[in-house]
Symmetry: C2
Subunit: 525 residues, 2 copies
Amino acid sequence: MPTPPLAGGTAGPAALRPLLDTVLAALHDGAALRGGPLPAGGPDTVTPRTRTATHPLIPDHGTGPHHALRALVTALAAGAADPAHPHCAAHLHTPPLALAAAADLAASALNPSMDSWDQAPAASALEADLTSALATEIYPHAPSPDAVITTGGTEANQLALLLARERHGPVQTVCGANAHHSVARAAWLLGLPEPVVVPAPTGTLDLAALDDALTELHRPLLVVATAGTTDTGEIDPLDAIADLCTTHDAELHIDAAYGGPLLLSPTHRPLLHGLDRAHSVTLDLHKLGWQPASAGLLAVPEHHHLTPLHHHAPYLNADDDTEAGLPDLLGRSLRTTRRPDALKIAVTLQALGRSGLADLVDRTVATAHHLADLITKTPALDLYDRPTISTVLFRPTGADDHTVATVRRTLLQRGHAVLGRAHAEGRLWLKATLLNPHTTPQDLQTLLDLVTDTTTDLLTGPPAEPLTGSQADLPTGPPAPEATPPAPEAAPQTSPAPEAPEAAPTPAPATTHPTPHPTESDTPR
Amino acid sequence: MPTPPLAGGTAGPAALRPLLDTVLAALHDGAALRGGPLPAGGPDTVTPRTRTATHPLIPDHGTGPHHALRALVTALAAGAADPAHPHCAAHLHTPPLALAAAADLAASALNPSMDSWDQAPAASALEADLTSALATEIYPHAPSPDAVITTGGTEANQLALLLARERHGPVQTVCGANAHHSVARAAWLLGLPEPVVVPAPTGTLDLAALDDALTELHRPLLVVATAGTTDTGEIDPLDAIADLCTTHDAELHIDAAYGGPLLLSPTHRPLLHGLDRAHSVTLDLHKLGWQPASAGLLAVPEHHHLTPLHHHAPYLNADDDTEAGLPDLLGRSLRTTRRPDALKIAVTLQALGRSGLADLVDRTVATAHHLADLITKTPALDLYDRPTISTVLFRPTGADDHTVATVRRTLLQRGHAVLGRAHAEGRLWLKATLLNPHTTPQDLQTLLDLVTDTTTDLLTGPPAEPLTGSQADLPTGPPAPEATPPAPEAAPQTSPAPEAPEAAPTPAPATTHPTPHPTESDTPR
């Protein structure tokens, strides 16, 4: 086998082109094989099928680039939970824009590493400009706003706690019961005291309880507020929390991983009033920013707040090199080798502009409100509350928590929909996190029909096996040899057939596998 | 502007295709504009040029996807230090294989997130199989080898220290003076005592000194050894270190970020004898594995060693979902949202097989030995030592450290070569880290000619300004309006012209910019 070609240099693009053709064909074929938001059958079907299609992972002799790309990319696409499908709406799991994914290819091909100037001359300049521009969106009146790029909100929250620790020593974190799990995990990682958790009985941090906690606790204190909670998408009362922090001499970090991009929408920006009073802000553009993972940021109002990240490694930032004008990049992250995630973000912002991003944000929020409207009109469903951003909690009327959990798993098992789950007001709810700006009202109606039909099946179907295992989650009924993906216009399915995992075909490279008919909802617009 | 298309679903590939055409054209044009391993002129030229070409980053109204991709990707490529160029050889900064970059596009387009099964049904199965297979390469005789995917060696080393902390409490790390800077940084992050540093006067950890240290220090102890140091590419005596750890009841972590892939080469595998005696091993496939960043791993001999990473977040791994058979993925990383880096790695391993990877490893090591041979034959250059892996240290005969540092910066400033630097035996050396399997003997000879010619310029040129700043690093001489990239066959340049940064053209979208003649060394094979 000749030495395989590289992605870089002037010859790279010609080497990439035929390989990309294979990837695009495999992505298409895999999505068609899947025929819905996720493959049917659950882990018991998908795991062995994927294993068969990708075996052997480390052969003695290679199968060649086209065969390997076709086999593995087809298997990955056929077995994806694809956020571009309107019925894949469980998590803050965004459908990436095509232009952002295309830009990300250039990052892979050039492979700049952001830990020294001589590995990333232009990429480091682009990153510096981008982080400064985004930090200025968050802190428009601050003296020297700056930001560092992270792998996501989890790393950004970790850095926020680390910066507080370095400023003040062993800081006590105080957060709401609605805060992201990464806050407690960061305290554990950093050897800090476990966070004090303030109740959030209505979904947002309780101000009186926070006041009490800040009165009792010893400083140094770091309050973590959330702008867009994972469970309900609610936004803590940021301005009032900032007031309490001022009163009690506590610092404030705001986790705006989800809600941060509302800043770009003139309509929704007021929801974030008070954001710029925080000592640091987490932002994730792989959520409401339509970037492929990862695209996180931690922003601060003053550049020098990042000083504790400074670090010295003579092979990367020798003193005499720095004195001679080579930028010192090592203090921009705790990572060393680092992908230029700035590129896809910058391409997206320049291509769409504020108005284009605002349009995507506004559409997504409107979609969530439309779903809430439809739920309100459906007697068989209860709505938790109107959405703040784009998260909608609902549940089948009268169902117990076990049924709600089983409805979710049955939809997954059948390959019909990917919905999330959240506890609120002491009950379990189905969670739709809407991030797809192409989702139509018809898609939403079909999604609700799937939920109500599945609930009916579960509650009125023939006596079922105990619902304890993934297979047992399915109602009993006549076995069918093949998954039947629902069309959006499908009549309610009163007798759904459970999948027969043992009959599931291997998706790749089995080109003879019958392709399900594409339906409207299979083809994201 | 219509809502921009998504990368996923059956329609994604058709939306991606024209955008990828724009990206490939921009990558080609940017590389041609650059005309060498990196742009000439240093930060003072590259930063403003990049800024101009990418401005405005956040316009009110977007410029559209093709314009933005063309402008930003061209600027990034024109301003890259491209590891696919044979004269870009400073760091463990790999030139990615085209097939790995192509696979990475599929990861961006499908955007599986590795924190829950319902975001990554097939990707999580593929990752589980890949990490198990790679861990088995490292621990062939262990009961249940496993690995987690990281953003690189830095995160893997951090996890190694974290796992030791969770097993034993505040563990004392002991590492060589040759260990990676991330070891000390991890201890700082995790609130652990600063590492005790054992001398490594010959480039590898001194066994007698380690024995003394382990005798004196209080347990719990974690020794960190290195298989492939950053400065010289040397490998600590792993087996002897493991013996000492056994004797002194210390645990052992081996940072094989660089050297780990030698395992795949029957020729070079013996260099890693003793690797499988470590409690954990760091491996980076974005170094000697030709993956775009990032592709790190931390391997352990027994699956249950990863238990301290387990974590509970009800929206991602509710107990009843886990009991019902949905895999719990949250304990596979400290990150939450996580890109499927397993895909590109798996495609590469399957496409090339062990034999193909071994061939790349063997070629790369042979290239380093050839460079050492050429240096030995060049009277004006001194060789530090024969390479262990693919790092070669050398210096102009009789030059002082200041001159060595200035030669490196001058090569950068002129856009002629990207070489690294390392201290060894009390002196500063130029460092060539060879990772490009396409580099030819002629490329290596040209690289050495560039070094000797630049040294001659600096030592014999007209009286220069004091060499304190990036511009001042250049010898004085007649200004030239345009960079003149050297052809590989170029005669020694006795009167090089410094770049005039103010005359540098904006690379994008300036399609009228004169393209330097492509030369052999501009076109990686």
